[in-house]
Symmetry: C2
Subunit: 421 residues, 2 copies
C-alpha cells in the first residue's frame, strides 16, 4: 500500500472528501483530494501482485480468478436516513476504489499527518501490494423494508430463502442488510479491507456476522487448478468459468428485462456457512467417501470413468445394474442435468473457527455462489440436495445469507447508485 | 503432497506401523513401511516451496524463518497410560515427519486403497507442496501431575504462569497437557497438519483450544521484512534473529546444566491470546499511537530518531525534558535494557475470529515466544508491561499457555523420548 504524497487540504471537511465517491484512482477522473499513486505498491517475495479495477460494468470478485483468501462481512444498518445510507455507500465506494488500487482507505495517513487526528487508514496493509483485492457489495432483503423507502424497488428474485430440510441455522449467522465480500491472495489485505470499511461505517452500520476463509474451494477461470475442500476432494470441477461466456450470460448476470433495471448487470449472491463433521467423515471408508461424492478422491474423476474434466455419465451401471454414480451422490444431485439445467458460479472457501467443547474442529465450507435468479438456481438445487444428498450426513448448514449484488459502479458514482434513482 | 507408491503390507498391523516413529523420510534411515518419496511434491504457482526436516538437534518452527500462517492446538490427554502416551508421541512423530516431507499422515491413501478402510490421511493437502511446514511439540505443566509418573521430571522452569495485572483469561483458552504449533506458508497445509494429528490422537488426547493465525508478526531471520500487527505498526523489529548465534544461545535454547537433561537443546514456549480493541485504537490520534508504541508508524523508527533498525535511545529528551520515547511506551518497557537484559524470540500471528455481539471484530495478536527460562524472561517482562505499558488500554489477554518444548527428535526416536527415560 502506498502512502499518500498529497498534503491534507484543510479547506475541505474530511466527511466532504469521503463523500466524493468514485474519485477515479484507477482511470481517467481525478477527484478532489485523491491521488494518482497507482502501481507504486512494492512487490513482495510472493511475486505476482495482480490489481483489479473497482469500477466497471460488473463488480469485481465474481468472475475474477478466485483469490486464495476471503473476509466476508454482513452488516445491519443502524438508525440512519435514506440519505445517510446513500452517503455510506458513497464513502464505501471511495475507500474500496482506493484500497483495490493499493492505497489507504482515506486521504490521511495511515502514517503521515495530521498527527492530532486518527489516521484514515488502520495501517496493517502499509508496504503490501493489493494482492488481487476485490471488494464486492450486496444488499440483503431486509434493506428493502420500510426504513429507507426502498420497498418498491426490491427485486422479486431477492427472495427470503426458504427453510431447507435439516437446516440448523443460528440467528446470529443469518441475514444482514448489506454485505461485503473481500477476496485477496493475502489475508492481511482482505482483513484490512473489511476492517476499514467497518470503521468507515461506524455509527451507520454494524457488523452482524463475518467469516474468514483460508482457502478457496472453487476455480472461476480455466487456468486455475481445482482446489480441495476439507473432505479432501477436489471441489468445483464443473463450476462455471469466466471463459464460458454463454454460460455466464445465461446463469450469472441479471439481464436487461429480468428486472428491476437497477440490477441489470448485477447478480445474486447466496452464502451458506456449512460446518462439516470432519471427524465422522474421516472415519468412513474411502469407498464410502467416493460413493457419497460420486468422484474419485485422488484425480476427481467421475465414478463413471474418465478423468477430472470428463462429463459424468449417470446412465452407466455396474454389477447388479447399480449406477456407478449413486442416485444419492453429490455430483449427481448437484449436476445441471438433474436440475433443469440450473447451474451456479461457486466461489466458496474452507474455514476453521477454532474447536468446539467436544474437541472437534469447527471447520467446513463457507459456500458462496452467484447467479442470475436464486428462485430457479440455488433454491431448487439446494432443495434437491437437502432432501437427497448422501453427503448431508456429514454437513450442517449453520449460517445463511442472500444479497442482491448490483452492477459495477461507474467512475464518480457510488455503488448501487441506480437503486436510489 | 505425494501419494505413496508403496502398497500396504497386510502382514503388519496399522497401529504397529504407526508406532514406528522416525521412519526416516528425510535422511538416511528408512523404516518399515515408509517410503523415500521426498521432493516429489509438485511446485505450485507460488514458486518457492521450502521443506524443513523434522528430525534434528532442535525442533523446527523456532528459528525457522517465520512462515506466513499458523494453526496452533492445545490438547488434554485423556484417560490413558504412560505407555499409551508414549505411543501417541511416537505416532505423532511418525506422522509429523511424513507431513513435513510432503507425504500423507500415514501409509494408506488418502486416495489409494484399501477402499474398505478410512484413509490414513484426510486428503486436503493432496497435490500441495509442504510450503515450509514445521510441526513443533510441547508439554504443558499439567502433563507432569501424577497421571503418567512424570512429576519428578517436571522442569523447574516450567512454572505455572502467575496472574498478571489486568489478565482477563477465559478458562477454555488456557493451558493444555500438550501443544502443537504448525506453521506453513499455506494455511491449508497448517490446518491439514493439526487436523491429522488431532485425528491420530482420537481417544487418547482431545483438542482443548486451537487458534488460526493468518499473518506472521515477527521475523526470525535477517532476510525477512518486518511485518505489521493489527495496530498497523511494524512488530518484532528488535526480535532475536537466527543469525544472532550468541543471543540464540543465551536466550532461546536450554543449555546443558540448566536442567533437566531431557530438556537440553529445547526451549520454553509461552502463548498469549491477546485481543486488541482495534475500534478504540483506530479512533486515537496518530501522535497518541506513536507515543504508545514508541516508534513511528510508517518507518518503524524509534521516536529518539534514526531508522527502523536504529537502537532506541531512551535518554533523549525533547521540550520540557520529556523523553522522546515515553516512560510508558511499549518499546521502552519491552526492551532488554529495561528488563535486566532479558529478551525473547517472538513468533506471533495476527488473528481475526469473526466478531462479537457488539459488531466489533474479534481480532488481535496470538503471541508466541520461545526462551531459555520463562522465570527470567517472559514473566518479568510481561509483569513490567502489564503494570506500566500504555498499550494495555487497547489490549485484553484472554488466553494463555506455557509449554516445555523438548529438543528435536533423533531419527528413529519419538519426540520427547528422553522425558520417558
Amino acid at each position: 500500500m502506498s502512502t499518500d504524497p498529497a498534503p491534507p487540504n484543510p479547506g475541505i471537511s474530511r466527511r466532504g472528501l469521503l463523500g466524493l465517491a468514485g474519485a477515479g484512482v484507477v482511470g481517467a477522473g481525478i477527484g478532489v483530494g485523491a491521488t494518482v499513486a497507482v502501481g507504486h505498491a512494492s512487490s513482495t517475495d510472493s511475486g505476482a501482485a495482480p490489481q483489479y479495477p473497482f469500477f466497471g460494468d460488473h463488480q469485481a470478485g465474481i468472475l475474477t480468478p478466485a483469490q486464495d483468501r476471503l473476509h466476508f462481512a454482513a452488516f445491519d444498518v443502524l438508525d440512519i436516513s435514506r440519505d445517510e445510507l446513500r452517503e455510506l455507500l458513497s464513502d464505501w465506494t471511495y475507500a474500496a476504489n482506493r484500497m483495490t488500487a493499493g492505497l489507504g482507505a482515506g486521504e490521511y495517513g495511515p502514517a503521515s499527518g495530521p498527527y492530532d487526528s486518527p489516521p484514515d487508514d488502520t495501517g496493517e496493509a502499509l508496504d503490501l501490494p493489493p494482492a488481487g483485492l476485490t471488494i464486492t457489495f450486496g444488499f440483503g432483503p431486509s434493506l428493502f423494508d420500510d426504513r429507507f423507502g426502498l420497498a418498491s424497488r426490491r427485486p422479486d428474485a431477492l427472495i427470503d430463502l426458504p427453510h431447507f430440510p435439516a437446516d440448523l441455522l443460528t440467528d446470529a449467522l443469518v441475514g444482514g442488510d448489506l454485505c461485503i465480500q473481500a477476496c485477496s491472495d493475502d489475508p492481511q489485505i482482505a482483513v484490512h479491507a473489511i476492517r476499514n470499511l467497518s470503521r468507515i461505517a461506524f455509527g451507520r452500520a454494524s457488523l452482524r456476522w463475518s467469516q474468514l476463509g483460508f482457502g478457496r474451494t472453487s476455480s472461476t477461470t480455466k487456468a486455475q487448478v481445482t482446489p480441495r475442500n476439507l473432505f479432501g476432494f477436489k471441489d468445483g470441477t464443473a463450476n462455471i468459468r469466466a471463459e464460458e461466456t454463454d454460460a455466464v450470460a445465461e446463469s450469472v448476470w441479471v439481464a436487461d428485462g429480468d428486472g428491476p433495471d437497477w440490477m441489470t448487470g448485477g447478480s445474486y449472491l447466496v452464502s451458506r456457512k456449512i460446518r462439516m463433521t470432519i471427524e465422522t467423515w474421516d472415519r468412513t471408508a474411502l469407498r464410502e467417501q467416493e460413493t457419497v461424492v460420486g468422484r474419485t478422491k485422488g484425480e476427481g474423476a467421475p465414478l463413471s470413468g474418465g478423468e477430472e474434466f470428463t462429463e459424468p455419465d449417470f446412465t452407466v451401471t455396474g454389477r447388479g445394474d447399480v449406477p456407478l454414480i449413486a442416485e444419492s451422490s453429490h455430483v449427481r444431485l448437484a449436476h445441471p442435468s438433474q436440475n433443469d439445467g440450473a447451474a451456479l458460479l461457486r466461489r466458496g472457501y474452507n474455514f476453521v473457527d477454532g474447536n468446539d467443547d467436544l474437541g472437534r474442529l469447527n471447520a467446513g465450507l463457507f459456500f458462496i455462489c452467484f447467479q442470475r435468479d436464486p428462485r430457479t438456481q440455488f433454491v431448487p438445487i439446494q432443495m434437491n440436495l437437502a432432501k437427497n444428498d448422501a453427503m448431508n450426513e456429514y454437513l450442517r448448514h449453520v449460517g445463511s445469507g442472500i444479497f442482491a449484488v448490483p452492477p459495477g459502479a461507474k467512475e464518480g458514482r457510488p455503488i448501487g447508485a441506480a437503486l436510489f434513482g
